[in-house]
C-alpha cells in the first residue's frame, strides 16, 4: 500500500494505467484511435484475437523504447524516429506471424503492415510515452492494447455468431435452428455494430456523452 503515492512497481496508478483504457478511456470508442483496423478484421474471432495480440505487443514495446529514448530524440524529427521504431517492431510481428500463425497471416494480409499507421500506436507515443517513464509507458501500452482488443473481440464474436453461426470456426448454431445473416459479414455491418456499441456504452456511462 505504501507504493500508492510513489512510483511503485504496481501501485494504484499502474493499475489505473492498465484498466482505464478498457472502459472510461477506451482507445476505440472514446479516444477514436485505431478505428480502421478495428472494423476491418472483425468478421471472425480468430484473426481478431491475433490482431489484438499484435497491436498490444507493438504498442507496449514501442512505448517502452520511445520512453527510454525520449530525452535524446530531437523534437523536430521525432515523428520520423517514432515511425521507424514502430515500423521495425511491426516488421518483427509480421515475420513472427508468418512463421507461427500462417493462416492468420493470410487472413489479415495488409492489415498487419497497417499497424504502423494505427493511430493507437502513434497516439500513445505522442500523448504518453514522450512524457513518462519507461515502465509506466509499457503498462499504458498494454492497457490500450487490451482496451482495443476487448472491442475487437466483442465485435468479432457478435459478427461471427450472427453472420456464420460459428465461433472460432466451429459451427455452434446449426443450420436448422438459425439461418445465417450474410449482412453481418459485410463491411457495413461492422459500422452499424460499432455505432450501436458506442450507444450502449454511452447510455451506461453518461459522462462520455458528446456535448457539442
Amino acid at each position: 500500500m505504501a507504493t500508492e503515492t510513489k512510483d511503485g512497481i504496481f501501485g494504484k496508478k499502474e493499475r489505473g494505467l492498465l484498466l482505464d483504457p478498457i472502459n472510461d478511456n477506451n482507445p476505440v470508442t472514446v479516444q477514436i484511435l485505431g478505428v480502421c483496423s478495428a472494423l476491418a478484421v472483425t468478421s471472425q474471432v480468430y484473426p481478431a484475437l491475433i490482431m489484438a495480440l499484435g497491436v498490444t505487443l507493438v504498442t507496449a514495446f514501442s512505448n517502452l523504447v520511445t520512453s527510454a529514448l525520449r530525452k535524446t530524440i530531437p523534437a523536430s524529427i521525432r515523428m520520423i524516429i517514432q515511425l521507424l521504431i514502430v515500423a521495425v517492431l511491426v516488421q518483427v510481428v509480421e515475420m513472427l506471424l508468418g512463421a507461427f500463425a500462417y493462416s492468420a497471416y493470410e487472413m489479415l494480409s495488409v492489415f498487419i503492415g497497417l499497424i504502423i499507421t494505427n493511430c493507437i500506436v502513434m497516439g500513445r507515443l505522442e500523448a504518453y510515452a514522450m512524457a513518462n517513464k519507461p515502465w509506466q509507458s509499457f503498462l499504458d501500452g498494454i492497457g490500450n492494447g487490451l482496451g482495443y482488443g476487448f472491442i475487437l473481440v466483442v465485435m468479432a464474436v457478435i459478427r461471427e455468431l450472427t453472420g456464420k453461426g460459428s465461433f472460432m470456426g466451429w459451427r455452434v448454431l446449426p443450420a436448422e435452428v438459425y439461418t445465417v445473416n450474410n449482412l453481418m459479414v459485410l463491411p457495413c455491418a461492422s459500422l452499424f455494430l460499432i455505432g450501436i456499441l458506442i450507444w450502449i456504452q454511452r447510455s451506461a456511462n453518461r459522462k462520455l456523452i458528446d456535448v457539442s
Binding site: 470508442t29 477514436i32 484511435l33 485505431g34 478505428v35 480502421c36 483496423s37 472494423l39 476491418a40 515523428m79 520520423i80 515511425l83 521507424l84 515500423a87 521495425v88 511491426v90 516488421q91 509480421e94 515475420m95 494480409s109 495488409v110 503492415g113 497497417l114 504502423i116 499507421t117 494505427n118 493511430c119 502513434m122 459485410l186 463491411p187 457495413c188 455491418a189 461492422s190 459500422l191 452499424f192 460499432i194 455505432g195 450501436i196 458506442i198 450507444w199 450502449i200 456504452q201 454511452r202 447510455s203 453518461r206 456523452i209 458528446d210 457539442s212
Partner: protein, 203 residues
C-alpha cells in the same frame, strides 16, 4: 487502356478505401465537421496518394524484388520500413512545394498535410498495390482512384453531418455513434457499384 480505367473505377467506387476497407477512418471522422475543410483534406490526400503509390512501386520493383540489388538476396523484409519512410519524406516534400508554389492553398491545408503521413489509406494503398501485383500504369491509376474515392466519401459525409447538426438524435448516440451508422449507410449505398467493369466497353 480499359484495364487502367477498370482499376481506377474499382479503387474509387467499388473498393472504396473508407467504405469497404475503413482506411483513413481517424482523419475521416475528425476532419468532417465542415464541407470546406473536408474538400481541403480530400485534395491533399488525392495529391499524396497519386505521388506515393507509383514511387513506392518503383522502389519495390527496382530495389526490393528478389535479387534486385545483390543477386540471391531478397530484401522484402525492408518493405514496410522503406514504404513508410518514402511516405514521410514525400509528405514533407509535398508540404514544402505547396508552401512555395501556392501559399493560399498551403494556408487552407495547414495542419492536415503533415497528418497525412499517418493516414492509413496512404500506406494501405501501397500495400494493396504490392499484394494485388499491379504494374506501373495500374498502380498510378490505383493511387489516383483511391484518393478520389477517399475524397468523395469524406466530402459527402461532411455534407450530411452539416445537415444533421439540427436533428434530434438521442444523446448517447450523438457525435461518434451517429457518424459510424451514417458511414455504414453510405457503405451500403456504395455496394450498388459492385460488379461494374467500364473497361469492357472500350475495345
Amino acid at each position: 487502356m480499359g484495364d487502367i480505367l477498370n482499376v481506377f473505377i474499382k479503387a474509387a467506387f467499388v473498393d472504396n478505401m473508407i467504405l469497404s476497407y475503413f482506411l483513413g477512418m481517424c482523419s475521416y471522422l475528425a476532419v468532417s465537421k465542415s464541407v470546406k475543410t473536408a474538400i481541403g483534406l480530400g485534395i491533399a490526400v488525392v495529391f499524396v496518394l497519386a505521388i506515393t503509390t507509383p514511387v513506392n512501386w518503383l522502389i519495390d520493383f527496382f530495389l526490393m524484388k528478389d535479387g534486385a540489388i545483390i543477386p540471391g538476396v531478397n530484401l522484402v523484409f525492408l518493405r514496410l520500413i522503406l514504404f513508410i519512410s518514402t511516405i514521410a519524406a514525400l509528405v514533407q516534400f509535398v508540404e514544402m512545394v505547396v508552401e512555395k508554389a501556392s501559399p493560399s492553398l498551403y494556408n487552407q491545408l495547414g495542419i492536415f498535410l503533415p497528418l497525412i503521413t499517418v493516414n492509413c489509406s496512404i500506406l494501405g494503398a501501397s500495400l494493396f498495390m504490392v499484394s494485388r501485383e499491379y504494374n506501373f500504369g495500374q498502380s498510378t491509376a490505383f493511387g489516383i482512384g483511391a484518393g478520389v474515392g477517399w475524397a468523395l466519401a469524406i466530402i459527402a459525409f461532411a455534407a450530411i453531418r452539416e445537415k444533421l447538426r439540427t436533428a434530434a438524435i438521442p444523446a448517447p448516440l450523438r457525435g461518434l455513434g451517429m457518424a459510424f451508422i451514417l458511414t455504414g449507410l453510405m457503405g451500403m449505398a456504395f455496394m450498388g457499384f459492385m460488379g461494374i467493369n467500364p473497361g469492357d466497353y472500350i475495345k
